[in-house]
Amino acid sequence: MDMVLSSEVFLPDADNTSPSVTFLQELPSYQSILRRRTSAGGTQDRRQNNHGFARPPAAAKRNFVERAGVKSEAVVRSIREYALNIPEKRKLRDIQEANVKYLSGWDQLKQTRNKSWKKFLDETKELSSYLELWRNDIHSIEGKFGTGIKSYFSFLRFLVLLNFIIFVLMFSFITLPSTISQYGVLNSSYVKVPPKDIEPQCTVYTISGTKGLVYFYTYIIDLLSGTGFLEMTSLFYGYYRIDMVHFSAIKYNLPLAYLLTTLVYLSLSLIWIVKRSVEGFKQSFVREEDPFQSYCNKIFAGWDFCITDPNASRLKHSSLKYELKTDLEEERLRQKKARRTTEEKLRIYCLRIFLNIFVLALLSGCFYSIYRATIYSQENISNVSSKMTFEGNLFVQYLPSIVITLANFIAPLFFSYIIKFEEYSPAFEIRLTLMRCVFVRLANIGVLLFSLGNRIVCANEKCKACGYNYELYPCWESRVGQEMYKLMIFDFIIIFAVAVFVDFPRKLLVTYCSCKPIQWCGLQKFQIPENVLEIVYGQTICWIGTFYSPLLPAIATIKYFIVFYIKKISLMHTCRPSKKSVRASSSNFFFLAVLLIGLILAFIPLGLSMTRIRSSKACGPFVNFNSSWDVVPRTIRGFPTALQKVLNGIASEAFAVPFFMVICLIMFYFIALAGAYKRVVDQLREQLVMESRDKQFLIRKLTEAQKRS
């Protein structure tokens, strides 16, 4: 919203106001704006005689519709984009239709074609809105809690769809060919090429606990941790021990398909997230710039017109008041800050450095405990588990997940406590705390993977034979898959348990018990940032884990589907709307930015394991390759020589470095362009202010001269 203000010196004399306003309305610039304002995308067709007008706010009601001249252009602005009421729009449409016969035959054809195309687009849009998942649920949430919380739920819906698409990809390109070839459906067969030049001990792979009599609870443990009977199913990497699938005439290279599908789902996620965030980015970027813009937006666009509940509206009022007050307060603080002495500044910087060191210490503590927990868990899993009780077994399996969840819970509390001492502006405080929380959550996964990786790859003789620790991890990819599977299941259990065992009892306590401390705690507020981090954490696990466990996205889809309903019920029944409202557009951008960080962090362990670590020799599709990535060069070697040369050329440094430089140049060009535009806009804005001041001065002089004569 581009605010351009015209100024008028507010003269205390009441007589002067009306003539100046009348003069203002007679100015040619004002008239042309009235005529031009309602053409949507007015830059599109300047030559056209515009019929749009605004209902004149002054008492004089002129009927612009009858002033419409003959249209000389074929492109007709859609009628509904004029700011008229319906009877006037009808008149305008009749005039337009009457003018049609003055157009040439070709123009008439174009017009009718445009009209029918627009109609078709409208109908498809209407139909596609029916296919939207949870449309009514999200609408009702929006009505009761506002657009900030609604954007959380549409984000959740987006993740359900994303995971479903990833699942469909993995299933149709990897699981389906393997399964149907194993059962010989459609005349298919598979080929298992025996590995050559490999030490025999690398190919030994037995799954513990599936033979003989086992306790019943072993099945439950297996279900919850992906071991035992689940390990050899299509859930995990180890099942896909096929080199080629033959479908009557077609040969299907499964290892290549496995790798390429992984790359495809990662790029698809990246593209989709970037596309979604571009829409939110444009808005939130402009918004935060200027304090003036942000005040404008708070006042003119502050009220959420979707609110229907009187309680919600009361809350919206108080939240707006709170927002305005805090903004004004922040401004006062900013002025105070500018007047800080050097002494105070020094003190504050020292305090900040000290607190940051504290934060680093806390983080290292978290990371170390996760590392130890993982090592302990891995060591004890390998021990014969029949000696342990059911709970002990489960505890050992889930130890890393438990420690990670505890760390994810304690760290944010600590961060929000110390941020108060660092004396930043309130907006920056929120952002910094969020960034720290994001970092903790995602780094915890990284530490888990790192500690696993350390055990899998080692430098001593244990690993020399096969390149990885084949005694402990004959099929290490499945083991990584199992860890991700456990993390995901545990995450889901925690969300469910918190909703059932914390939220509902809290609501019951607050409703039925009237003692002071409980009433002071009150109902819980729906904290958007924490909830978003929770689901981004889950999604990062899914992205990393899908390579090692192709059916994991299906579990993620079901999990988020159920989480939607859990959160919705918990929101409707146990939460009160918070005072600090969150703006929808900036929320959208924030959610997607955090998700993007998660995705990029997911690339790292995947990239490292695909290229650096030897793939297992005992299971999986990459038995005959050095690493998972190796399948690509080998396939390329099978291409015709010309194509090989081209591909080798693209992958070489001779191409990559100049390409990178060109991309950098283009980026710098756009940055410079944006800077230049910004400067021009600022200059024009100043000029406009000057012009309007001049205008008002002249009008005042004119009025005075008129009065005197």
Binding site: L5, S6, V21, L24, R55, P57, I79, A312, L324
Partner: protein, 167 residues
């Protein structure tokens, strides 16, 4: 409420789809809601009737809105200026507030809604009334004098009035 007499004729439905931003479903829903505001006998001639402002304000969506009076006044086409709305005014209102309306239309109408004294400009008085509407009804919810001054100062900076320019 039911019955074919109170249904919208097809061609009218198509016309409204063309003239507003609403979809067919939304127009039918609006028709249903509007007819609920009328008494049984009036429902036959729904398109000619005007609903008084007091009845319109009983709609839950408007009841909670601090700008409800202004909205009724801006969208009403009645000559007496009493804020009563016909069905077409009602559709207009819904069309401007729908998701598919362009931002030019929305900003035009927003300006008119916020222009409390209808003079085509947003001056200090308008802004004060606007902020008071936003913070809540009742005296205890208003901003203090000094805060209001600071806010409006920020807003208008050293100007005094905003006119109907690209808003």
């Amino acid at each position: 409420m039911g019955g074919s007499a109170s249904q919208l004729p097809r061609d009218l439905l198509g016309e409204y789809q063309e003239l507003t931003f609403l979809t067919k479903q939304e127009i039918l829903l609006a028709h249903k809601r509007f007819s609920e505001l009328l008494s049984k006998e009036e429902r036959e001639s729904i398109l000619q009737k005007r609903v008084p402002k007091s009845k319109i304000l009983t709609l839950p969506e408007l009841r909670a809105n601090p700008f409800r009076d202004r909205i009724c006044r801006v969208f009403s086409t009645s000559e007496d200026g009493d804020g009563s709305m016909s069905f077409e005014d009602f559709l207009d209102m819904l069309s401007v507030f729908s998701d598919s309306a362009t931002s030019e239309i929305k900003s035009h109408y927003a300006f008119r809604i916020f222009d409390f004294d209808d003079d085509g400009t947003l001056d200090r008085k308008d802004l004060e009334k606007l902020v008071n509407c936003l913070t809540g009804e009742g005296d205890e919810t208003r901003l203090s004098e000094s805060e209001m001054d600071q806010l409006i100062q920020n807003f208008l900076q050293d100007r005094a009035v905003m006119a109907l320019r690209p808003f």
